[in-house]
Symmetry: C2
């Protein structure tokens, strides 16, 4: 497995592979790899001849007071996991070298990046789209693989790829979960035991909503009330948002659901380490499929 | 010569050429080709195996009330000129098809795009960088060639390429001029005879400044006063800006010039057709090389 640190070297490698007709699948990551990332690697392997993983804790997607400094960077573990998973190349640019010191060019998706995580983290998606554009230009992949846990991120990246015409196929991979249902995240390791226990409230509230919809509930307010009631069972949780949105446009879902609706959650827990601004922000989501006219059906 | 209309088809063509080790040079244009563009084609030919020209009047770089509607589109003449000049491929996307109807992704250079043309045409460079990014992603060129007449555009594009890591070499080509010195521009054809005569004031004022600097003048205000006096000899002219700027950062030049300084002009003339908002906006520039300590030299 090769480890490359510079864009130029990576582009040369990509050109050489492409000239031989080999297909490259890129898995962009911020490291601290877990089974969720390995599922991305597996999906990537099915789509290409070589899987490349990028590991870069991207400063431009963190806001002031967010957890850039304490984001985990277990470099040797990450490289080991990649090697074990048959990754052929890791792109690990230096944190102080991937952006020019006077960097001033931004790739921005206007509307899709506004609500949900975009509302609570201004500039976050601008950082994501900019770094993903840079990674695509560096690795020149045929395919890139992202997790569906970050539903809005995936939607924003798909929009960027469509609008700018990146010649990259975007693949989304279903969320990988702990045995108790908690979505895997590099941030879970910051939860203390009690917060970790209560963090199950996210997936429980998704389940509650899904059951309610399966039982015929179609009112947004009623569904969200049940979600909030379930989240309220976790007293350590602070709910940043719990919303129903159109899965494509991310516009607010109508009060009477008529088609698929994205239920998206962002919930903060105190971190084990404590300290100011040291909360753990967890997100999760599920697309609900209501049956608005169920009673009319045969 | 091949004419291609879709991004997908162009990307396939680029991949095929690149796989054979052939180098592609792209000349992005809005059509209405003149000898200035042909100089770009010549420069492109020297850098690659195939010269591709894109022809697309990019709506996103025109502001409201600007001349998008009446920008010339002499398609057959353009294709003829390309054919005659040994261009191998013209990319001419449909005006209503290159951007998605709900396009919402923008590539923006923050600082360099602010002053000069950016001040008078808000959103202009955002449109330029977005379309150039799209063209680079579509044509996958090794080299792209731009005219130095649009000095700020060239600087903004170089910055975008550096910041995002486009694997494209950017080549600038000196401005081509009419026998009387007027910089070639697709917009010159809109000048009536008297405005055309007075439009020589732009290059005359550049000459005046260059002579003054050669004669030892180093004060920005004094140089600009001479420039404005020369422009004032054209009573039809309305001066949008006449400024001295650092050629790299585009920050205002110091009062006492110590190194190379960009003299940049934007001047409007009435158009032959007349009508509201129908002025003709001309730009020109020259990098001046003052000798601040000339008297001390041997």
């Amino acid at each position: 497995m090769q480890v490359i640190e510079t864009t130029q070297e990576l582009q040369a490698r990509a050109d050489a592979l492409r000239a031989r007709g080999r297909r490259i699948a890129l898995v962009p990551s911020m490291g601290a790899l877990h089974a969720g990332h390995l599922a991305l690697v597996d999906a990537a392997r099915a789509k290409a001849d070589e899987v490349w993983v990028s590991i870069f804790v991207n400063p431009t997607q963190f806001g002031p007071g967010e957890d850039l400094g304490r984001y985990p960077r277990p470099r040797e573990d990450d490289l080991h996991l990649c090697r074990e998973s048959g990754v052929r190349l890791v792109f690990a640019p230096r944190e102080d070298g991937f952006y020019a010191e006077d960097h001033e060019t931004w790739v921005e998706v206007a509307r899709l990046a506004k609500p949900l995580c975009g509302a609570g983290r201004p500039g976050h998606f601008r950082g994501v789209t900019t770094v993903v554009a840079k990674l695509f230009l560096a690795a020149k992949p045929h395919v890139a693989v992202f997790g569906e846990k970050d539903f809005q991120q995936l939607a924003v990246i798909r929009r960027m790829v469509r609008d700018l015409g990146f010649d990259v196929e975007i693949v989304g991979v279903p969320t990988v979960r702990e045995p108790d249902g908690l979505a895997l995240s590099s941030r879970n390791r910051h939860l203390g035991p009690e917060a970790r226990r209560q963090a199950r409230a996210l997936v429980r509230s998704l389940d509650v909503a899904e059951r309610a919809v399966r039982d015929g509930l179609c009112g947004s307010s009623a569904i969200l009330a049940r979600v909030r009631a379930e989240l309220a069972r976790a007293p350590l949780a602070w709910v940043e948002y719990a919303e129903l949105r159109d899965p494509t446009s991310l516009e607010p879902a109508p009060e009477a659901l008529e088609g698929p609706a994205l239920l998206a959650l962002a919930v903060h827990f105190p971190s084990a380490a404590g300290g100011e601004g040291a909360g753990v922000r967890l997100i999760d989501n599920r697309v609900l499929h209501p049956h608005p006219h169920r009673e009319d059906r045969p």
